[in-house]
């Protein structure tokens, strides 16, 4: 791979990438992120490869990341010159021979397209590239535009802009969609103040103003500084970061190079949880490609700035998503947090100034620096600029990965984007913020999604996991589930978390088994305050949240379990009688 030294080189690669994204022959692209593979996309890919080989077809077979429509996977897209890009859903290996035939014959006899894309609008620079040239063919008139279907209509993709559009292993395709041009702009004209002005708040759960963090790190005392990407994503049900790392690893890399340049760091780490092998592979390949092109290493794009990235892997500990525990793990020590009275931007990894940001935060950086802070702050709402990626899961029709502007309501997410509750069931609650968050009842569905609003409602934005629950969920059991999770993940260093969370879990076990006592709820509330106040880190500090939020919004269910020994949702098996 040739070295990219300047804008001219970058443009040359862009041309190559455009030829790959808009090929002159038929291209078939399979969605092969973890979500796709889990539904059989790998088998579909193999069947396609076999059939193409068997029939000696002149078709390009490629792959892409998670476009978000996980509920319709396996997804296969077909591109033909001058025609709209067509998305086919729920393909199986058995469908493949007939599917390839219909492409060659030019009809929809065996599978109708689910939706189409006529033009590709690049969010990073406002450019438009067209798949369709000329009039829309008659046979596609009834096929809706992807941007018009309910699932996508209210979405706005910044962090996940390339997921489902590029082959993550192809750096030219990343460049063709605007990648690394922002880096060039930043290195040659220093636009990094845009991050500070843009008001980006951390997307990993902390919600801290990213710009201030960068500034503090830049001003911290010390020659050697580090930037870290937190790819530990541990919240059950959350897979936003996984999709970005798998589907668009270069967006993270480019973000980190820009950030490192702004801060004055020359070494970066991406810490990925061990349970994400595909993400590790995608990132490793992307890093080695970036190095080959000279976008990582010495004298990047002839700027004099040098920077490189290493991957660090987790080993199965949720607590290592906490910044100081993560840094301990990177240092080879056991993943235990320390109190953050001294900030990690001053004393972090190896005691040096360290700027840690989440995957989604880094993926936003090239767009914000590229388009400018004013553009970014027009998206979203006051104090909550931009978009947020959510994994919309649970009892919802359209399960998948979505990216929406801040300020959209939960109602819109669940009923418009999500398609509502399946199987004729009723909405009961939506859980946000993972084990640190809370359950929001139907009375609060018109809540606009933002850091501040969700916290005011007794939950939090968190990393973006959004679990929808219908009447078959028992809210006491939900609280118990999260406590059990945290009990297993507690590092064990401090008493309130190590001992307190398990005692709360034991009380909830009792309640769910019909052994609840009068005063249990009050005891849980009092313990919650002490655990929130007394814990050393946010794992313990936020552990009581699911309990407190379910007590607040679903007190009647606690009462039913404790006083009547009944589980209204019919979940707690020891309380189910056949009356």
């Amino acid at each position: 791979m040739a070295r990219i030294n300047n804008l001219q080189d970058l443009n040359k690669r862009r041309e190559q990438g455009i030829a790959s994204l808009f090929p002159s022959k038929i291209k078939v692209m399979v969605g092969e992120a973890t979500c796709g593979l889990a539904t059989g996309a790998g088998l579909v890919h193999n069947a396609l490869a076999e059939e193409i080989e068997k029939q000696k077809l002149d078709i390009i077979l490629s792959k892409t990341g998670c476009i978000g429509m996980c509920y319709r996977e396996p997804l296969v897209d077909v591109m033909e010159p001058n025609r709209p890009r067509l998305t086919y859903s729920r393909l199986t290996p058995k469908n493949v021979p007939a599917f390839l035939n219909q492409i060659l014959e030019g009809n929809h006899k065996s599978k109708k397209p689910y939706c189409r894309i006529d033009e590709d609008i690049l969010i990073i620079n406002g450019e438009t590239k067209r798949y369709l040239n000329g009039d829309l063919p008659d046979d596609l008139a009834a096929i809706p535009l992807m941007s018009d279907i309910d699932f996508y209509e209210k979405q706005f993709k910044i962090a996940t802009r390339n997921c489902g559009y590029i082959d993550p292993d192809n750096i030219d395709e990343y460049i063709a969609r605007g990648g690394y041009f922002t880096l060039h702009k930043a290195l040659s004209t220093m636009q990094t103040e845009e991050i500070i002005k843009a008001g980006l708040r951390g997307r990993g759960g902390g919600g801290f103003p990213t710009g201030y963090k960068w500034q503090s790190c830049r001003e911290a005392h010390g020659e050697v500084k580090y930037v870290i990407c937190n790819g530990d994503e541990g919240d059950p049900g959350a897979y936003m970061d996984r999709s970005v790392m798998e589907g668009d690893p270069h967006s993270v890399i480019e973000g980190m190079i820009i950030g490192a340049y702004a801060i004055g760091a020359h070494e970066g780490y991406i810490y990925v949880r061990d349970e994400y092998p595909f993400a590790v592979n995608a990132l490793s390949l992307a890093i080695s490609q970036a190095r080959e092109c000279g976008l990582l290493g010495e004298n990047i794009l002839d700027s004099g700035f040098s920077f490189d990235i290493q991957i660090g892997k987790g080993a199965g500990a949720f607590v290592c998503g906490e910044s100081t525990a993560l840094m301990a793990s990177l240092e080879g020590r056991a993943g235990e947090p320390r109190a953050k009275y001294v900030h990690t931007v001053e004393h972090g990894l190896k005691d040096r100034p360290t700027n840690l940001n989440n995957v989604e935060t880094w993926a936003n950086v090239p767009v914000i620096v590229g388009r400018g802070s004013e553009w970014f702050s027009e998206i979203g709402i006051e104090n909550n600029a931009g978009t947020k990626v959510f994994s919309l899961v649970g009892n919802i029709r359209n399960v998948g990965l979505i990216e929406v502007p801040m300020g959209i309501t939960l109602q819109e997410i669940i009923y418009n984007i999500g398609g509502g509750i399946p199987k004729g069931k009723q909405f009961k609650a939506v859980q946000t913020g993972g084990p640190s968050g809370g359950c929001i009842p139907k009375e609060m569905l018109d809540l606009p999604v933002s850091f501040d609003e969700l916290s005011k409602a007794g939950s939090m934005m968190g990393s973006g996991g959004m679990i929808v629950m219908d009447e078959t969920s028992c809210m006491v059991d939900v609280a118990r589930y999260f406590l059990e999770f945290l009990e297993g993940e507690s590092c064990g260093k401090c008493v309130p978390c190590r001992e307190g969370v398990r005692r709360m879990r034991q009380i909830l076990d009792d309640i769910c088994a019909g052994r609840g006592r009068e005063g249990d709820v009050e005891l849980l509330e009092s313990m919650s305050e002490a655990i929130k106040d007394g814990s050393l880190c946010a794992l313990g500090g936020s552990a009581p949240n699911p309990v407190l939020s379910t007590i607040k919004s679903f007190r009647d269910e606690y009462n039913a379990h404790i006083q009547d020994k009944k589980c209204p949702a019919g979940v707690c098996t020891e309380l189910i009688h056949s009356d």
């Binding site: 109190a339 260093k493 005692r503 106040d533 007394g534 814990s535």
Partner: protein
């Protein structure tokens, strides 16, 4: 010097000192369990929690690790602090019901056991204060013991709970353990000492004949200090 207020008393403290140190130097008692002067504070027991106010914001912090700041206002007895203190001791009483030290401390601070917590039977008297591990690493310098497992299963021991190749049998861990959980046993004749599953041959003093230290400990001290071994074979009383 930094000016701060602790329990309505105006205090002056050296920059870099902790709230705990500043309080102790001014006759204000804050209870501790995991704190030890000779090791870096871990802030893990949370018993020393205090409520601080900086500008408009109040929060609970561990006083053993929070450094003093100008105009900080500290309350060591607020409701929130007492709630934390109470829970910590109730949790430890449930974890180590056999520990008289914890029971007595709870009594002294007016904390009753929480009957709703099931008593553990498998933790002995270990409250995971971490002092043994830190002393072995920071004071003695051999790191013979460390932590096994995570969460409530966390425990202290040698790697794989096998007799340690580096333990010198000095007993510093047992000495510093606040609850007496760590067992160090000497044979009746004093010739042997057993700790962490390893048996040590004790050395008899050249002068008085008393068995006083393990061979490994004297060798280690000799190596670290450069004092010749035969000088170390005389016990402290006889030197």
């Amino acid at each position: 010097m930094i000016n701060l207020v602790i329990d309505n008393k105006e205090i002056q403290a050296e920059e870099g000192s902790t709230i705990l140190k500043a309080a102790q130097s001014n006759g204000i008692e804050i209870p501790t369990l995991c704190y030890h002067d000779e090791i870096t504070a871990s802030g893990s027991c949370r018993l020393c929690s205090v409520e601080i106010k900086k500008g408009e914001r109040t929060r609970i912090v561990a006083s053993c690790i929070y450094q003093v700041e100008e105009d900080l206002v500290v309350n060591t007895q607020s409701d929130r602090v007492m709630n934390v203190r109470r829970l910590v001791l109730q949790l430890l009483m449930a974890r180590c019901p056999e520990s008289e030290v914890i029971r007595e401390l709870a009594e002294k601070l007016g904390v009753e056991p929480q009957k709703r917590f099931q008593l553990d039977e498998d933790k002995g008297k270990c409250i995971l204060c971490r002092q043994c591990v830190e002393v072995c690493e920071q004071v003695v310098g051999v790191s013979a013991i460390g932590f096994l497992n995570r969460g409530a299963d966390k425990s202290v021991g040698t790697p794989f709970m096998e007799p340690s190749g580096v333990c010198i049998g000095c007993g510093a861990c047992a000495y510093v353990c606040p609850t007496g959980h760590i067992k160090m046993e000497e044979s009746e004749n004093g010739k042997e000492r057993v700790i962490w599953g390893k048996t040590f041959e004790m050395v008899a003093c050249k002068v008085c004949g008393r068995y006083f230290a393990p061979q490994e400990q004297l060798e280690y001290i000799g190596k670290k200090t450069g004092v010749p071994l035969d000088k170390l074979y005389t016990c402290v009383n006889c030197r």
